[in-house]
Symmetry: C2
Subunit: 557 residues, 2 copies
């Protein structure tokens, strides 16, 4: 074998692994021989690069072999390893193919030889391997993998990766009281901690995660589910530091938030966690990819003057394969099972084949959600069976109602909870769920400086923005929503792959956009009445360039 120059970033292996994982999820949903054959080829190439001792990281192969494991802080070897384990597990589950899984175990065993019990203390500069190791433990039953994941978590705050807050190494994990540091690292670490809690039941971990979660959702999360306010260090900011135009809100961070909140939901069964999954899915993560699937945002601002556009690829290409695996993983998030029954998390037109208590259950969803809040679930349990169905009532939804086959079900459809319907179900039984979706004017906590005196528009789970191309009569940033603005939701099937747009009346306070002056005496013309149109935030920047804004000026009239 001949040496050749390594190209790209030292962690580019991980992008290939994320692609394999995405492909595996896709194949799990729908067998695709062409894709499977390509995946197998890629796995062959990957496994051929694995060293005899199990080590796998192409950057540290050949000339750099001596530098293995010498810089845990920066060099992402454990991060890449984690992504390979996740890809291998997904592929094994989708196809039964164990070649990659076996290689992943050899790699994990190699890492155990370096960092396992009684050996070197380690922790990764970029968390990721923790959740992968827990999943590998779940897949293989080898408890050392779980223990290794826990030791990586336990070793944070010891200065092994430099003690930096950006790497969440400034404190022991269980001493954290806020979400801080590099957003993706922080959120991946929380995923790992949640996974470790699930397998160990250590309550201190859950308490820490709850504390971090409250800080995240009450003070440091964008309305879109975006996470990580600062360009500097790709990091969370201080409480209420949520700039809009200068938002970082990396696509990968919204994805990581969805991953973490999915785990928190699995632990607790609480709707508030799935609310954040849904929020990120439809907004701050989905904005990361263009409607044609061919270009990507790394950074997701909530305000723009027309400069920010999706790119075909990035030198640091973490986001594109990450959103691919997120989208491909969605079928696995729609339903979940507990010992009691079946939980419906995502409403979407679909047919699900579920195994509940060893017996098949088919649930068909007829719905246009998220554009319409009416959902019809048609059940086929093959024969009458009694079990509870838990229906997610989104946190944004007030006045939800449920009807079962013509009879009105007495419900306490509390927003942000799961509604339990426990009764005998027969073939063809239908559940009619109504989730009212009025257009909402939302306000921000006033401590968020840039949002004070502004409102954002949301309908159902969809956050809206005003984009210049739809509003030729004024600059989008000059729009002022008033207390008397009436806004209606209109389906437009031919626009942006089919969306519900919002249209309404408002006023415009024209600014002098052509002025070269930075400051000058105020000389606003009187506001004028206009009609405006807003589109889902995720769909912006798919047409011609121009200003875009989520948080719109507001005044009481």
């Amino acid at each position: 074998m001949q040496s050749c120059d390594f190209q790209g970033y030292f962690f580019n292996d991980s992008d290939v692994y994320k692609w394999v994982e995405a492909a595996a999820f896709s194949i799990a949903g729908m067998r695709n021989e062409g894709l499977l054959s390509l995946v197998k080829h890629v796995v062959d190439v990957i496994v051929a690069a694995q060293e005899d001792d199990g080590y796998l990281d192409t950057y540290f192969t050949f000339d750099r072999k001596k530098e293995r494991w010498t810089n845990l802080r920066d060099m992402h070897e454990l991060y890449c390893a984690g992504h390979f384990m996740q890809a291998a597990i997904a592929l094994y589950r989708a196809t039964g193919e164990s070649k990659a899984l076996n290689a992943a175990c050899r790699l994990a065993d190699h890492i155990l030889n370096i960092f396992g019990q009684g050996r070197r203390e380690g922790t990764p500069g970029h968390p990721e391997v923790e959740m992968a190791l827990v999943e590998l433990y779940r897949t293989t039953g080898k408890r050392e993998y779980l223990e290794l994941a826990k030791s990586f978590l336990d070793n944070r705050g010891k200065g092994i990766v430099g003690g930096s807050q950006n790497l969440i190494d400034h404190l022991p994990f269980r001493k954290l009281t806020e979400i801080t540091g590099h957003a993706v690292r922080s959120l991946y670490l929380n995923c790992g901690a949640a996974d470790i809690y699930m397998e160990t039941g250590e309550l201190e971990l859950l308490r820490t995660l709850e504390t971090i979660w409250r800080n995240f959702t009450e003070r440091r999360m964008y309305l879109t589910g975006g996470a990580g306010a600062r360009y500097d260090g790709e990091a969370f900011g201080a409480d209420y530091e949520l700039p809009n135009r200068m938002a970082y809100a990396e696509t990968c961070a919204a994805i990581a938030s969805a991953m973490w909140n999915w785990r928190m939901f699995l632990i607790t069964g609480e709707g508030r966690f799935f609310d954040i999954v849904e929020l990120a899915l439809y907004n701050g993560a989905l904005s990361g990819i263009s409607l044609d699937g061919e270009s990507y945002f790394y950074v997701n601002p909530l305000a723009d003057r027309g400069e920010h556009r999706r790119q075909k690829w990035f030198e640091c290409a973490c986001c594109p394969p990450n959103i691919a695996r997120l989208i491909a993983s969605l079928p696995g998030l729609c339903y979940s099972l507990s010992e009691e029954g079946v939980w419906v998390n995502i409403y979407a037109k679909s047919v699900a084949n579920i195994e509940l208590g060893g017996k098949p259950l088919v649930i068909e969803q007829r719905t246009e959600y998220p554009w319409n809040g009416e959902v019809e679930l048609v059940l086929d349990p093959e024969e009458e069976r009694e079990f509870p169905i838990f229906l997610r009532i989104p946190g944004w939804c007030r006045g939800a109602s449920v009807r079962v086959d013509g009879g009105v079900e007495s419900t306490e459809a509390c927003p942000g909870s799961y509604l339990r319907l426990h009764r005998p179900w027969n073939v063809g039984d239908r559940i009619y769920l109504k989730l009212p979706m009025p257009v909402e004017k939302l306000e921000s906590n006033p401590n968020v400086e840039g949002n004070l005196g502004r409102v954002a528009l949301r309908r159902g789970p969809i956050v809206y923005c005003v984009e210049q191309v739809d509003n030729p009569g004024f600059d989008a940033w000059d729009l002022v929503i008033t207390s008397s603005s009436e806004i209606e939701a209109i389906w437009q099937g031919s626009l942006l792959n089919g969306i519900v747009v919002l249209k309404g009346d408002a006023v415009v306070s024209d600014s002098d956009w052509s002025s070269g002056m930075l400051y000058k005496p105020s000389s606003k013309p009187s506001p004028r009445q206009v009609e405006f149109m807003a589109i889902p935030y995720y769909a912006w920047a798919n047409r011609q360039k121009g200003p875009m804004l989520v948080w719109l000026r507001y005044q009481d009239t």
Copy 2:
């Protein structure tokens, strides 16, 4: 002599030098034997630390002697040297004492031995020495100092200090088209370039400075004259990136802007440059020191929730002695001379003894400026003489008028220019200048995201803010100025050492400050009428903690 541990930052020598410079300026204004004796003692201590070869930097004395000049990027040796030269020159001019000046020349000669013509190419990571070397050339006539300053400027963009944009080493100076990088370094470099232009007349330098200046004042300067938007790298941001709460706006950067604009005024005689000097003096620099002179801001935000308070000192203590030398230098800025005549730059109650064309001229100013725009200048040229007086008409002033001894002078008092009064002046002649100071509602260029839909209040050169302590009936951030708000200026001699406050009517749109929620449906109570009070920005944070805001919400009614 015994070695001992160096304490503090490696560049702390410069703080002592700035104190000496401030003391020298102070002594020049008013002889003070106690202070002079202290300064002489400090100079003795400094000069005793100078090495036989002329080297002077206490950090690189003793153990670290070998490391001299090994890290121009980070270690500030040239920066400290520059401050010593400036201090020595100021002391020489104030007192005629040449001990420090001789030491400064020995140091400069030492630097010439290292970096002079035909020797090592150098440039400092932190500019400062350039302007000091030009001043040393002016003081001693030794042209090599000027040439060395020019070589340091010419060597930028060659990667000598790493090629970083933050250090303004990414491009040759003459290729710069924007103000960028670390704000203080960038502005000090401009000072040096302006000084070099003054001595060489190289037009490309002036053109570059003009380009940078336009970018600074049209896109990257706070209304207060504050400079440097970003915490990250203490740096200028992108065009229109001027966050208010997260403003960095280091006190030293506002001072550096005043220093640069003073030089630009000296070059051109144009009022627009002195406007920026005045702006920084009364606002973004002056806010750096408390009214009792005993505590300091390093960072000067334009919005706060009550967390940001002046400190007694800083580990990195550049700002306190810098504002000391700025304030002590003010007498030297009030008037300037050209071949033609005398220029009046600063209006302030004062008596100036000027030597014009070899003959004495006394000018007394009777005024309450900046609180009142009426200025009376009483001239004493000893005998009748004809010469022009140039009166600064501030850029903020519309409708200025001048009267000379009862007769109305025909004037074109163009804002931002100097009004030329050319006539024979006799003993006791009086000039009456009226600079109308209505309260102005200013608006920002709409590209500054955080200021859109907001106004700031200014009267004369003073920028105002609303501070919570004066407005107990509502949260300062909830105030909404309207187009019909009437605002009056009222002298309050017992408040904050005597200030003009602004009082007016406005409305308040109360926010829910106690909510723990980050986002929720908008439910604003109707706006209510209130009276509000605003104080000069420089005077904020001198009383109890609370919210403060410069850019106030605005709506047309």
